[in-house]
Amino acid sequence: MVASLDLAALLGQAVIPAAVLGLAALGELLVERSGRINLGLEGMLHISYGAAAAVSIATGSMAVGFLAGLAAALLLAAIYFFTVEVLGVNQAVIGLSLVFLGSGVGVILGNLGGGAAGPALGITTARVVAAVLLVATTLGLYLFLQRSWVGYVVRSLGENEKAASMMGVDVRIVRAAMLALQAVLVAAAASLFLYGYTSGRWTAGRITGQGWLALGMVILGFWHPLGVAIASYLLGLLYSVQSLLPSLLPPGAVYAVLVDAAPYIAVIAAMAIASIIYRKTGHRPPASIWQA
C-alpha cells in the first residue's frame, strides 16, 4: 500500500525536526522548572547555529563545531545568569534582548563561514542520532526531574523559591546549572539542525521560529519531559506533512498562506485548547511561572 509506506516515511521524516524542537524545549523545561523563563531561547539557537556553522566549516569537524555552538550558547546563558540572577534585572527584558543579540550575532558568525558547505550527517545517520538524542534526553530528564532528589531541588525552586531557599537550596547555583544544561541542549539542537537538517550549510534565518515554538512545546507538554517530547514529535510530524499540505487540501489560493503559517497557527490553537483542558482537570503548572 502506498499510503502506509508514505505514513512510515512521514513518521521517519518527523524525527529530525522533532528532535531539534524537543531538545531545545527540554532545555527550556529545566530552566522553567527552576522558576525562570528564558525567552532568549530563540537567540540561543541562532547564535549556536551560526557559531557551529562557522567553526565546523573552518575545521571540518562536527565535534569542534558543536563545541563552538556550545560556547556561544553558554555565553548567552552567562549573560542571562549575571543580569537576572545576580543583578535582578527583569527576566523578560533580558530574554527578549537575548533573542536579538543571539540572532544578530548568529548571523554575523554564520557569515564567517562564507556560505560553504560544512561537514554533515547522512540522512539515515542523522535520523538515528536525532531519535537517540531525543529519547535519551527525554528519559534522562524524566529520571532526573521526577525521580531523583536533585530533581526535587530543581522543582522546589519552581514551586516556591522562598521555601526552597529556607530549606537550604542554593538558588543561584541551581539556576546556573539549569541554564548551563539548557545551553548544552540548545547546542545539541542547533548542531542537529545544522548537520542533520540543512546538510551542514548555514543560511541566515533558516532556524527562525524554532526557539519560539520550543517555548510553546514546554507549555503543551505541561512541563513534563515526556509531554514535551510528545508535543515536539507531533509538531515534527506537522513539519513533515507541511510540504504535502497544498496537494492534500482542495485547490484554493488561501491555503498557500496557511502552509507557511501552519505550525504557528497550530501551536496557538493547541495552547488555547491545552489551557482549557488544564483548567478543567485542575492541573497546575509550576507555581512560580504561572500567571492567570
Binding site: R155, E159, A163, A164, S165, M166, M167, G168, V169, G282
Partner: protein, 510 residues
C-alpha cells in the same frame, strides 16, 4: 549545672536598608536541654535575631559560635548542617509536594542520604512518637495552618536538628493546638535538644521556658530565669517606661443602637485556590454603626470570605446584598462606588503598590470611591496629594515624603496610611482583615480605636482577625468561622471560653 552553650551569639548587629536597626549588639547563649523563651513585642527584633542564627539573614557584624567554634552562615543550609533549624512563623513548605517529599528534600539538603521511602517512614515514626498527627503523603496545599506548623517541626526533627528556633509557633494555632505544641517543646528539651520559643505572649513563656530573654527595639534587655520571673517584671522589660502610660486592655465601650442593615450575605459558597470549598453556606448581616468580628484559626475560609465580599473571588452560590443592592455578580469597582472600603490582609502588593509613592497609592485606593480625586476619567493629582497630606497629618504617618515610595516606610506607618486612606473614603462599609498584625502595641491600639470610631460615625465595620483579644476589644458581635462555616455567634458580654471552643471544635464535613 549548665555546661558550655551550644550556640552563642556575640554582639550581633543588623541594620536594614533605610537605617532601621533590627538588632543592636545582641549577645545571647543557648544551652542544650533548655527551652529558652524569647519575648518581645512586634518589631523588637526577635525574628531578625533567629533568622541570623538560622542563616536566613547575614549579620552586619558580630560573631556566632556553635559549640565554641565561630561559624559563618551564608545560607540556611549552613545552619542546618550545624544542627540549627528554624520553624518560621509562616510555614515554608513546597505546596505542590507531599510532606514526605518536603522532608526528604530538607534532609538531603542537610546532608542526610535518605530516599523518599525512608522519609515517609521517618515522618510516620516522628509523628507517632510526638503525637503530631502528620500524614506523610498529604500534599501541603491541602493542609491547615496547624498541620503545616507540625509538618515543619517534623521536618526539623527529621534532619536531627539539635537547636529548634520556633518563631511565634502559636500565632496560627488554636488554644489546644498551642498547648500541645508547648508540651512538645518541653519534651524535646528533656531529650537534650534546645528549643528557642519566640512569642509575645507572656503566659506561654512563663509556662514552659527555663530561661526568658526579652528584647525591645532591637536590643536584648535581659535574660531571667523563669523561676525568678514574674508577669510584672517581664512586662516592664518588654515595654519599659511606656507601660505606666498605657493600660494594657481598654475598658469595654458602650455603643448606641445600630442602624439599618448595610451588608447582607445569604448562603454564601466560595471555592478556594485549589477547587475545594472554602466558604460553606455563610450567612452574615451587618448594620450601620456596628462592628462585627469574625474569629477563627487561620485558614478556615476567612481570606476567601473577605475576597468574595470585596468582589475579587467568584461566588459559587448565595447572594451578597450591599447598601440595598444585589452585588453578587458585581466587581470591586461597583462595590467601591457604593461605599465599600477595604483594609486587606497584607500591606505590600495587596493594599499598596510598593514602589509607587503615597500620592499614587491614594489615587489607586480611591479609584472607585465616589470621593476620589477624579473628574470623570481625568486624575486630579493635586487632589490626590491633598488627600495624602491629610492622611499623613491625621494618622501621624512617618514618611520620607509624599513622593517617596511607600515601601520606604515601616510596617506600622504603612498600616496607618492604609487605614487612614480607607477611613477617609467615609465608607458605608469597612472590611478589615488582621488590621493590626505586625504592629507594635501603641499602633495596634490606635488602629483598633479608629475601627470603632468609624462605626460610631455610622459605618458598618467587619473585622476578620486571628487575634481574638483584638476582637474582644472592638467587636459588638463575634462570629466564629471554622472549616468554612459560621459555627457560633456571640453578643456582648462575650463568653470567651465558648468562642475559643467554637474556633477549634471538629466540624462535620460538607
Amino acid at each position: 549545672m549548665r555546661q558550655a552553650p551550644i550556640v552563642e551569639a556575640e554582639c550581633v548587629t543588623k541594620v536594614y536598608p533605610g537605617g532601621v536597626v533590627a538588632n543592636d549588639c545582641v549577645s545571647l547563649a543557648i544551652y542544650s536541654g533548655e527551652v529558652l523563651g524569647l519575648l518581645g513585642e512586634n518589631g523588637a527584633g526577635k525574628t531578625t535575631f533567629v533568622s541570623i542564627l538560622a542563616g536566613v539573614l547575614e549579620p552586619d557584624s558580630g560573631v556566632i559560635r556553635v559549640k565554641g567554634r565561630p561559624v559563618r552562615f551564608r545560607l540556611p543550609r549552613d545552619a542546618l548542617r550545624n544542627g540549627i533549624a528554624l520553624v518560621p512563623q509562616n510555614p515554608m513548605l513546597v505546596d505542590a509536594f507531599t510532606v514526605a517529599e518536603n522532608v526528604m528534600l530538607a534532609a538531603r539538603l542537610a546532608g542526610l542520604r535518605i530516599g523518599l521511602g525512608e522519609a515517609r517512614e521517618r515522618v510516620r515514626e516522628l509523628s507517632e512518637r510526638y503525637g503530631l498527627l502528620v500524614d506523610p503523603d498529604a500534599r501541603v496545599w491541602g493542609l491547615s495552618m496547624g498541620e503545616r506548623q507540625r509538618a515543619e517541626i517534623v521536618k526539623a526533627l527529621a534532619v536531627d536538628a539539635s537547636v529548634l528556633l520556633l518563631d511565634e509557633p502559636t500565632a496560627h494555632l488554636s488554644p489546644p493546638e498551642a498547648e500541645a505544641l508547648l508540651r512538645l517543646s518541653r519534651r524535646l528539651a528533656s531529650e537534650g535538644r534546645s528549643v528557642v520559643l519566640i512569642t509575645h505572649r507572656l503566659r506561654e513563656v512563663l509556662g514552659v521556658a527555663d530561661r526568658i530573654a526579652v528584647m525591645r527595639s532591637g536590643r536584648l534587655v535581659g535574660v531571667v530565669e523563669a523561676s525568678e520571673a514574674s508577669r510584672e517584671k517581664l512586662l516592664e522589660m518588654m515595654f519599659g517606661e511606656r507601660l505606666a502610660k498605657q493600660p494594657l486592655s481598654e475598658p469595654r465601650r458602650s455603643r448606641a443602637a445600630a442602624g439599618g442593615v448595610v451588608l447582607e450575605v445569604k448562603g454564601l459558597w466560595v471555592l478556594g485556590d485549589h477547587g475545594e470549598w472554602s466558604v460553606k453556606g455563610v450567612d452574615l448581616s451587618i448594620r450601620a454603626g456596628e462592628v462585627v468580628g469574625i474569629a477563627g484559626v487561620a485558614g478556615n475560609g476567612q481570606r476567601e470570605l473577605l475576597e468574595a465580599l470585596v468582589g475579587i473571588r467568584r461566588v459559587a452560590r448565595g447572594t451578597i446584598r450591599f447598601a440595598g443592592i444585589d452585588v453578587t455578580g458585581k466587581g470591586p469597582g461597583a462595590r467601591g462606588r457604593l461605599g465599600m472600603a477595604v483594609v486587606p490582609e497584607q500591606r505590600l502588593g495587596w493594599a499598596l503598590v510598593p514602589s509607587k509613592d503615597l500620592v499614587f497609592n491614594v489615587a489607586l485606593g480611591f479609584y472607585s470611591s465616589p470621593r476620589g480625586p477624579y473628574r470623570g476619567v481625568v486624575v486630579d493629582w493635586g487632589g490626590a496629594r491633598r488627600i495624602a497630606e491629610k492622611i499623613v497629618e491625621t494618622m501621624k504617618v512617618k514618611t520620607p515624603g509624599l513622593d517617596a515610595p511607600v515601601e520606604a516606610m515601616s510596617g506600622g506607618n504603612m498600616q496607618r496610611f492604609i487605614v487612614g486612606r480607607e477611613v477617609l473614603k467615609k465608607p458605608r462599609l469597612l472590611l478589615a482583615m488582621n488590621p493590626t498584625s505586625g504592629l507594635d502595641y501603641a499602633a495596634a491600639k490606635a488602629v483598633d480605636k479608629i475601627l470603632v470610631d468609624v462605626a460610631s460615625a455610622g459605618a458598618a465595620v467587619l473585622v476578620i482577625s486571628e487575634d481574638l483579644e483584638e476582637l474582644l476589644n472592638v467587636a459588638d458581635r463575634i462570629l466564629v468561622m471554622n472549616k468554612g462555616r459560621i459555627v457560633y455567634e456571640a453578643e456582648r458580654p462575650f463568653d470567651v471560653e465558648k468562642i475559643a471552643a467554637a474556633m477549634v471544635e471538629e466540624v462535620e464535613g460538607t
